[in-house]
C-alpha cells in the first residue's frame, strides 16, 4: 500500500472521507490538517457547531483534500509526518490546480522563524499551541470575514 493510499485510509478511519457526507446547508467548510488526533478532535468539536469540518493527519492527504474538496479555510499544523506544513504551503503556492484557501497555522513549535516563514507563504494568522480554543474560533471567524 502506497503512502497516499495509507493516508487516505487513515482519513477514512477518522470518519471524514469527504465534505459531501457532511453537507447540509451551505456552511463554511474547514479542513484541519493536524497529526495529533486528540488535539484535532478537540478543535473539530469546537468548530463543528458552526462549520463543516474535515480532518486529516498528514500533508499529502491535506493537499489532495484541498484540491478535491476546496475548503473555505485550512487550519494547518507545521510538524506533519511525510510532508511538512511548510512543504504543503510551497506546493499550494506553485500548484496551478487549486486556488489556495486562507490558512491559519496552528503550531506547537517554539521556533521563532515559523511565523515569518508562514507569513512569507501568504498565511495571515499563526497561532502557537497552547492557545485557548476561543482564539482559534476568533481567528477562523476573522479569516472567513476577511475573505467574504
Amino acid at each position: 500500500m502506497g503512502k497516499t493510499e495509507r493516508a487516505t485510509l487513515e482519513a477514512q478511519d477518522w470518519g471524514n472521507e469527504t465534505f459531501a457526507s457532511l453537507r447540509q446547508a451551505r456552511l463554511s467548510r474547514i479542513l484541519i490538517i493536524e497529526d495529533n488526533e486528540h488535539y484535532a478532535r478537540a478543535v473539530r468539536t469546537r468548530l463543528e457547531t458552526d462549520y463543516e469540518v474535515l480532518v486529516c493527519r498528514d500533508g499529502l492527504t491535506g493537499i489532495r483534500l484541498i484540491e478535491e474538496e476546496q475548503p473555505d479555510l485550512v487550519i494547518l499544523d507545521i510538524g506533519l509526518p511525510g510532508m511538512s506544513g511548510f512543504k504543503l504551503l510551497h506546493e499550494l503556492h506553485v500548484s496551478s490546480r487549486v486556488v489556495a484557501p486562507p490558512i491559519i497555522v496552528l503550531t506547537g513549535s517554539s521556533d521563532e522563524t515559523t511565523a515569518p516563514r508562514a507569513h512569507a507563504w501568504g498565511v495571515r494568522t499563526v497561532l502557537r499551541k497552547p492557545v485557548p480554543l476561543k482564539r482559534v474560533v476568533d481567528a477562523v471567524e476573522d479569516a472567513l470575514e476577511y475573505e467574504a
Partner: protein, 75 residues
C-alpha cells in the same frame, strides 16, 4: 560545549516539544468540557474540569520556561 551537554539540551528540547503536544490536546478537551460542548456539568464536575485546566496551564508554563532556558543556552 561538550558533546554530552549538547545532547542533553537537545533531549530536553525534544522532551519539551513532545510533552507540549499531548498537553495541548488535554487542555483543548478540558476547554470543551468547561464550555459544556458535551453537555451540562454539575458544579462538582465544573470544579474538577477547572482543576484540570489550572494544572494544564501550570505545566504549559513550566514547559515553556524549560524550552526558553534551553534556547537561551544554545544561542
Amino acid at each position: 560545549m561538550s558533546e554530552g551537554t549538547l545532547e542533553d539540551e537537545e533531549l530536553h528540547q525534544d522532551l519539551g516539544h513532545h510533552m507540549r503536544s499531548p498537553l495541548a490536546a488535554i487542555h483543548a478537551h478540558a476547554e470543551n468540557l468547561r464550555d459544556e460542548l458535551s453537555g451540562r456539568l454539575t458544579e462538582a464536575q465544573a470544579q474538577e474540569v477547572g482543576a484540570i485546566l489550572a494544572s494544564c496551564e501550570k505545566l504549559e508554563a513550566l514547559i515553556g520556561r524549560l524550552l526558553r532556558e534551553q534556547e537561551t543556552k544554545t544561542r
